[in-house]
């Protein structure tokens, strides 16, 4: 019995061997597990939610599409901020003051809105309220206020609470006039607390409130450039094949903001600093 031609041809074998060696680095990128650190920020990131939340599901889909192996590691916020060599997930502005990143890839966004309970007000509240916020008692989460002095000068006062649940209960009972909250968090909190009255809670979308949710690749991450490129490509593909929209629908139902994708593109440009070097 004669040998298969391939075994007769030593040159061919050698070529195949070299090709394999050349391909190894790219296989290494795919094989490496990329650890992405996040802190509990439901419904965007949570170890207790299906797919680890909205952001978690997008990460899974992008990774699957691009062949990357990603794992979300949940840590307290202070530890995330103190660590300046890790990959992060969330709003880049929370991290960029303490860490240089190789790449920032916006994958979603969130909006902050005012919410009020219509039965407590005789008139519809409009965004004109920004001209005279002094009239209102505004509820916010403890720890989210910046530049207190500006608000004090403007005579704008806030009532803070440690939970969204508490804020929306106060809103319903008329102890505060407005709650300032992330739209998705508020929608879910209202649904949970007052399922029969959701229509009575009104939302005033703030025009300057859209913030990005991003994958931030540390400068210390090996193959950072390749990984960032793979994530970007994966995101592009899941947007194109409709998977991205399906994920959004699970969380936003029929309330997906119309300008979602254009904002994503805007954030992509805003954080395109990695091309500078």
């Amino acid at each position: 019995m004669s040998a298969h031609p391939i075994y007769k041809n030593g040159t061919l074998m050698l070529r195949l061997f070299y090709m394999l060696i050349l391909l190894l680095p790219s296989f290494a990128v795919y094989a490496e597990e990329i650890i992405l650190d996040a802190n509990e920020s439901p419904p965007f990131w949570s170890k207790d939610l299906p797919h680890q939340g909205l952001g978690g599901e997008i990460i899974q889909a992008i990774s699957q599409q691009s062949g990357l192996k990603s794992r979300i590691n949940f840590l307290p916020l202070k530890r995330l901020r103190d660590n300046s060599k890790n990959n992060d997930l969330g709003n880049p502005l929370f991290y960029m003051a303490n860490q240089d990143f190789s790449a920032i890839i916006p994958i979603a966004s969130y909006r902050v809105s005012f919410f009020y309970y219509q039965p407590n007000h005789t008139k519809t509240i409009t965004l004109d309220l920004l001209q005279n916020l002094q009239k209102y008692n505004i509820g916010v989460l403890e720890g989210t206020l910046t530049k207190h002095s500006y608000f004090a000068e403007q005579d704008i006062s806030f009532e803070t609470s440690y939970s969204q649940t508490s804020l929306f209960k106060k809103l319903k009972h008329g102890r505060i006039d407005l709650v300032l909250a992330i739209d998705l968090v508020a929608i879910n909190t209202i649904n949970q607390l007052f399922p029969e009255q959701t229509e009575k809670f009104k939302q005033l979308k703030l025009p300057n409130s859209i913030s990005p949710i991003a994958i931030m690749i540390a400068e210390e991450q090996s193959n950072a450039e390749n990984i960032a490129s793979q994530y970007r490509q994966g995101l592009k593909q899941i947007i194109a094949n409709g998977q991205y929209l399906q994920i959004l629908k699970k969380h936003y139902y029929s309330y997906i903001p119309k300008d979602w994708l254009s904002n994503l593109e805007r954030f992509k440009q805003l954080y395109a600093f990695d091309s500078y070097e």
Partner: protein
């Protein structure tokens, strides 16, 4: 809004954290009529975390307050982001450090000069015991690593054969010490500020090259494309003139510059 499943009930119970990294940041520009004037951090001239206690912060807020201009200084981590908001989003204005705008980019801006400060090249003596000197020719620093902020214009350094290392301003001086960069270019007062904060016991190790690197203009720029841009620029000019003629400006300047 539709009803939620058990997971959302559970998550609502979990919403007790005080702040998280995907959360609201309640700033004046979010919920008031105040417009943003964007800036990067460059202490002691601009320090977004300590806005009322920095040179430009005190000057700008004094004028804004006096002239009743509804605006706030908003710090951003990258110079490229300041440029993006100013040029693409038509923000009300920005402070000038390191924006390096082209003539066409300046076309729709009203630039109001506030001051000018000296910049120098600095190195860390233990890493260069024989000293470094550029003597007005960057080629003398060829092969070395220049540390600067992300978004800086670095073409002339590249042309001189200098390697570029981009970083946040907060760690530039640290990078000199750990020998990740050979020299930096910064205002003298900024180097003094960071060395005082980060390496107070090593002041003598940070050496300024004898030939000055140049001047850094400190200015505020208003955007003509913003609905209030021209009006606020006029008001600001008036207010700055008043601040100068009343002697307040000189007092603030003296406090930070001398």
């Amino acid at each position: 809004m539709k009803h939620v499943n058990l997971y959302f009930i559970l998550l609502a119970l979990l919403l007790s954290s005080t702040a998280n990294a995907t959360g609201p940041r309640v700033s004046p520009s979010l919920i008031s009529t105040a417009s943003d004037i964007y800036t990067i951090k460059l202490p002691p001239f601009v320090d977004p975390g300590n806005q009322y206690a920095c040179y430009l912060g005190e000057v700008v807020y004094s004028v804004l307050h006096e002239q009743k201009i509804d605006a706030v200084l908003t710090g951003l981590p990258l110079q490229s982001m300041v440029k993006y908001y100013l040029l693409n989003d038509n923000a009300l204005g920005a402070l000038s450090p390191y924006l390096h705008l082209t003539v066409s980019q300046k076309k729709d801006l009203i630039i109001i000069p506030i001051d000018t400060v000296n910049e120098s090249y600095y190195y860390y003596k233990p890493n260069h015991p024989d000293g470094l000197a550029w003597k007005g020719k960057l080629k003398r620093l060829s092969g070395l690593r220049f540390g600067t902020i992300k978004g800086d214009v670095v073409e002339k350094y590249k042309q001189a054969g200098i390697k570029i290392k981009l970083s946040r301003i907060d760690v530039l001086i640290k990078k000199l010490v750990v020998n990740e960069v050979d020299f930096v270019r910064l205002p003298d007062l900024t180097v003094a500020w960071y060395v005082g904060k980060q390496f107070a016991d090593q002041k003598d190790n940070f050496i300024k090259m004898p030939t000055p690197a140049g001047n850094l203009p400190l200015a505020i720029m208003f955007n003509k494309k913003h609905p209030q841009g021209q009006i606020n620029a006029d008001k600001f000019k008036q207010g700055l003139d008043k601040l100068k003629s009343g002697g307040q400006f000189q007092q603030i300047q003296l406090q930070y510059i001398n």
